[in-house]
């Protein structure tokens, strides 16, 4: 909401400085978004009158004016189309300085002398556009400084109100807060009942009393359609961010801003028979003031006449019943629509109006007739006419009512953590228009009708804190109860994995959880990604089913910026739709590309391969101390190279994948490759083993190497499994030290070199038992894998 400091000041009996005002508003919970001077920075502009006006002899678009500046008649050349004899104008005198630094000098324009300039609103920084020069009211005092005359030393203040403070959406509302804060008198405008001078009324029927428990209306006839809004009215509206439209619209807007009651004026001549507040009927449409045609939903309340809807209740009027330049009789509406029912209705039609904004937040149920009297008074003074009696239809039962709230003194102090004197509490509440009555241990409080946000004791406690000052409540340093955080030693957390990967040269990244459906489909064509109903863009439209989508895009982003060596990891959720419902699984994923190490003098870098990636993943797994529970198994994944992809199994469950990105996908994404990826469920990595010490053997180690020739189809794990199965307590370690194909090895075969390490805890092993063990291993390898020893 925008308002002017001066207008607010009119409501306060004591002057408040702008500085105080701007400091206090945020501390009352009213955020100040911006402030702006209501006029540009200028001097030397006074009220003057054009006493003569004729065509400039040498220029079609210019006039020669004789202007009375209060002391003499001077010549001014003016380009304003509306310059004419008899109007009061804003004269920038010789020596005046206008916004932007323009200095007015005596000069000749096309051969004619000009002793100043007649200003437009734009030239004085009063408006963004203007049609001609300013026309001041005819009673404007000639010679008076325009800043004083128009009271331009004023500030436009825009505040952002939280949705609970509908009561502050008016000058009156803000003034109430400032008055209470400064303990100064609220100087409310006097609203006088405007007696009916005609008997005309228009029937009002309330069908939906729950939605509209109060509706006041009045007929005003014989208004002057030619009348224009006075300058003061236009100025107040302008300083509140509203454009002047016509006296009738201006007055309804003015009362809305002043009191907070939305009003609407119908053209009486266009109303048929009656006003009926009712629910919309199926298929009904309305053409709104903004010229859009809307098909009404049945959940919507409308104002209708015998022909159909003429307004959406509390939102916007219809075009067909609206006032125009020809309107001479109006029906003025001042109604109450209750928030619970009005809420969300405007939004479902994509509408948001000053009126809906207020009704959704709650309009004071005592305002309707006051507002109509206030508007009548203003209208009669501007457009003339005769007013009929106010018709008020009300349903007491559904009127919003405030109930008594019990407030315990102890609770105030417990919640706030400060002990306030009883008198302070009751005074603070009273200054906010609450009726406070002391009872044992506290008070009963009746909040004013306009405070929709105050219903229970803690609401009152907030008010006390707000006016006592949040910053006057002490800081109480946390005293933690002795509760120990027992971090489990056998639990691995994100921080451990992060540390591990960072140490291995990975950068942690955070990518969006919603990704491009095209990339998603490319990576996992078989999983159906959860789609957003209202994505922010087509590229961020589905929830990721794998962290790879975001990581690969990040690789691309970096490659496009000449960053070729990329090592990234991310932790976060993936969203997988299953028959059991949506799984939101915590994953950890990584991607690497380019070389194993950065270029350096002491060591040659080489292209990454699968085993670089696997090594990193094994390091993560090793953190658990449970590496034997993890199995890497060749498998096929749509996104991965069919010959370089592995499924990761933990306790017989698939927990992740690793491998080279499928070259086909790599090409489609325009990535430079090869690229290696892993993704694994965090859950599988969480459980760690508590180390249990094993005594060290004092006896010698015996190492034996085996060079085996096996078929290509035999994988390392097959060899390992055979050895492990034979392996007894003596086998303390084994290691694959070589894999070789080529000269000396038959086609479709490979040589695998394995070192077995044997040791006993109790004694030195003798050759015979070592040989016996080795023979058993070799026999098993021969029998089960058709392995042979390399000659």
């Amino acid at each position: 909401m925008k308002f002017s400091k001066q207008w607010l000041q009119e409501w306060l009996a004591t002057e408040i400085t702008t500085e105080d005002l701007l400091t206090q508003l945020p501390m009352l919970g009213i955020e100040v978004d911006s402030t702006k001077h209501v006029a540009g920075d200028f001097t030397g502009v006074i009220v003057a009158e054009i006493v003569e006006c004729e065509q400039h002899p040498n220029a079609d678009r210019l006039r020669l004016c004789k202007v009375n500046n209060g002391t003499e008649i001077i010549a001014i050349v003016c380009g304003g189309k509306n310059a004419r004899k008899g109007i009061k104008v804003a004269l920038a005198t010789v020596g005046a300085e206008l916004p932007g630094g323009l200095k007015i000098k005596r000069g000749k324009i096309r051969g004619e002398e000009s002793l100043g300039m007649l200003c437009s609103e734009v030239e004085l920084g009063l408006a963004e556009t203007s049609d001609g020069i300013i026309e001041l009211p005819i009673d404007a005092p000639i010679g008076k400084d325009i800043r004083d005359y128009l009271q331009l030393n004023d500030l436009m203040i825009e505040v952002d109100l939280t949705p609970n403070r509908g009561d502050c959406l008016s000058i009156q509302g803000i003034a109430r807060e400032i008055a209470a804060k400064n303990n100064i008198k609220l100087q409310a405008i006097k609203i006088t009942e405007q007696p009916a001078t005609i008997k005309d009324t228009f029937p009002v029927i309330l069908e939906v009393k729950m939605a509209c428990p109060s509706y006041s209306g009045r007929v005003i006839k014989n208004i002057n359609p030619e009348a224009v809004s006075p300058l003061w009215l236009k100025e107040k509206l302008r300083r509140s961010g509203l454009r002047s439209i016509s006296p009738i619209v201006d007055v309804t807007n003015y009362v809305l801003l002043e009191l907070g009651q939305p009003l609407h004026a119908f053209d009486l001549a266009k109303l048929n028979k009656e006003i009926r507040v009712r629910g919309a009927k199926k298929g009904e449409t309305i053409k709104l003031l903004n010229e859009s045609i809307i098909e009404l939903k049945e959940n919507t309340q409308v104002i209708a006449d015998a022909n159909g809807p003429i307004a959406i209740a509390g939102v916007m009027g219809g075009l067909n019943s609206s006032c125009t330049a020809q309107t001479t009789s109006i029906f003025l509406e001042s109604a109450l629509f209750v928030p619970e029912i009005i809420a969300g209705k405007a939004r479902q039609y994509g509408l948001h109006t000053d009126s809906s904004h207020r009704f959704e937040r709650g309009v004071d149920p005592t305002l309707q007739t006051l507002a109509i009297e206030r508007a009548t008074e203003l209208l009669l003074s501007i457009v003339g006419g005769e007013a009929g009696p106010v018709i008020s239809v009300m349903d007491e039962e559904h009127l919003p009512k405030k109930s008594l709230i019990k407030l315990a003194e102890a609770k105030v102090n417990n919640i706030l953590g400060v002990t306030l004197p009883k008198s302070t509490i009751s005074e603070l509440l009273q200054s906010l228009h609450m009726q406070v009555e002391e009872i044992t241990g506290g008070w009963t409080v009746l909040p004013p009708s306009f405070r929709y946000d105050i219903n229970i004791d803690v609401d009152l406690i907030e008010e006390i804190a707000r006016f006592y000052g949040y910053n006057n409540i002490p800081l109480h340093h946390p005293h933690s109860p002795v509760g120990f955080l027992n971090e489990k030693e056998t639990e691995r957390k994100i921080k451990h994995w992060r540390q591990c990967l960072v140490a291995r040269g990975y950068h942690e990244s955070i990518t969006y959880s919603f990704v491009d459906p095209k990339i998603q489909a490319l990576l996992e064509p078989n999983s159906k990604a959860l789609a957003l109903a209202n994505p922010i863009s087509a590229e961020l439209a589905v929830m990721r089913t794998s962290l790879w989508a975001g990581l690969l895009q990040t690789v691309l982003y970096n490659q496009n910026r000449q960053q070729n060596r990329v090592r990234l990891f991310e932790t976060g959720k993936r969203f997988v739709q299953t028959e059991q419902g949506l799984l939101q699984e915590e994953m950890i994923a990584g991607v690497i590309t380019d070389t194993d190490i950065p270029a350096q003098w002491a060591q040659a870098s080489r292209k990454l391969d699968f085993f670089d990636l696997k090594g990193d993943l094994e390091a993560l797994i090793d953190l658990s101390g449970n590496k034997d529970n993890f199995i890497f198994e060749a498998g096929q994944h749509c996104a991965l190279h069919p010959g370089q992809s592995s499924r990761l199994i933990y306790n017989e469950n698939e927990i992740g994948w690793l491998g080279a990105l499928h070259p086909h996908i790599q090409q489609k994404l325009e990535l430079n490759g090869p690229i290696f990826l892993f993704e694994i469920k965090q859950e599988a990595l969480m459980q760690a083993r508590l180390p249990v010490f094993q005594s060290l053997s004092k006896f010698p180690l015996i190492r034996r190497d085996l060079a085996l020739i096996v078929k290509d189809t035999v994988s390392a794990v097959d060899v390992i499994n055979v050895i492990k199965k034979i392996g007894n307590m003596l086998l303390v370690d084994f290691n694959i030290f070589d894999v070789y194909k080529g000269k000396g090895v038959p086609d479709e075969h490979k040589s695998i070199g394995v070192t077995l390490t044997l040791q006993d805890k109790e004694r030195t092993l003798v050759d015979e038992e070592v040989n016996e063990f080795m023979n058993r291993v070799i026999n098993a390898l021969e029998q089960q894998l058709h392995a042979s020893l390399r000659e």
Binding site: N164, I415, Y470, A503, H507, P598, W601, A602
Partner: protein, 350 residues
Amino acid sequence: MLRAFFYSDLYMQQLTILIQQAKEAITHCNDLAVLDNIRVQYLGKKGTLTELLQSIGKLDPVERPKAGQAINVAKQEISVLLDEKKVALDAIAIGEQLAKEKVDVTLPGRKQSKGSYHPVSLANARLEAFFHQCGFTTAYGPEVEDEYYNFAALNIPLHHPARASHDTFYFADGRLLRTHTSPVQIRVLQQQKPPVRIIAPGRVYRCDSDVTHTPMFNQVEGLVIDKESSFADLKGILHAMVEAFFEQTLAVRFRPSYFPFTEPSAEMDIQCVKCHGTGVDCRICKATGWLEVLGCGMVHPNVLKAVNVDPEEYQGYAFGLGVDRLAMLRYGIDDLRLMFENDVRFLEQF
């Protein structure tokens, strides 16, 4: 007799010459292998001195002991010279080897490239460390939430104007992406009876994207429910938290605000960490001297009722802070969007 005498004389002469030769050879030797040869040449089994000793039988028996002693003395003398020379040559050889093995210690070491933590993780870790010290534990919740947890249970009924300001992402079935970490409050209180003291870090989502908003961002929620935690406690812990986070004394201020799930509600501003609250020419705080960092308040009784906690018996506070903003302030990052672009030149700085 004469012959014998002659022979003895000759013998001793020969010995003197040999000693002289050996000494010279040793003095001029500057190679360990040559030195070894010299040892063999004179003292070896077939060495000249050894042979001379073996030929002692040709001497007059009377002369023999004297000659034997002379040879042994000579052997001893040469042996010492050889040892000394060996030590000297060893020292030279080691010196040469060491000189050869000298490296340029200013050359960089062999390495993997430097990895890095995301600034949001760094900030989260600092916050977690602080709150864990204060007895908080960390809780987590789902990101695809439903209307109940994200809104209704938090005292934001349908059509409440606060919902409009949340710019919620929805799914076709009515579920949504959580707009704040506050649903974790409800999930925790459903499972755990007070006293409760948790923080809940995580991703949150709003359908909003411009220079200062990304559709996904990070929050840390805090919740304390017990019988006595007050607004003054809330102020105290949050003030301590920002001072610990920024490692400096910082003024804070609390402004009344509105969140349907807290009452009273507040926003906390900290003194600008860039201009130290002066506001002079400061773009970070827009010359106000203050930075808005979090929203907080006393948990609304309706929230407690929604999880069957009696608001007459229990009370407490909650807060929600934007971690991205804190990280940006801490590390001087001037553009929120950088946080999620993951340019490695950005990432490697942390």
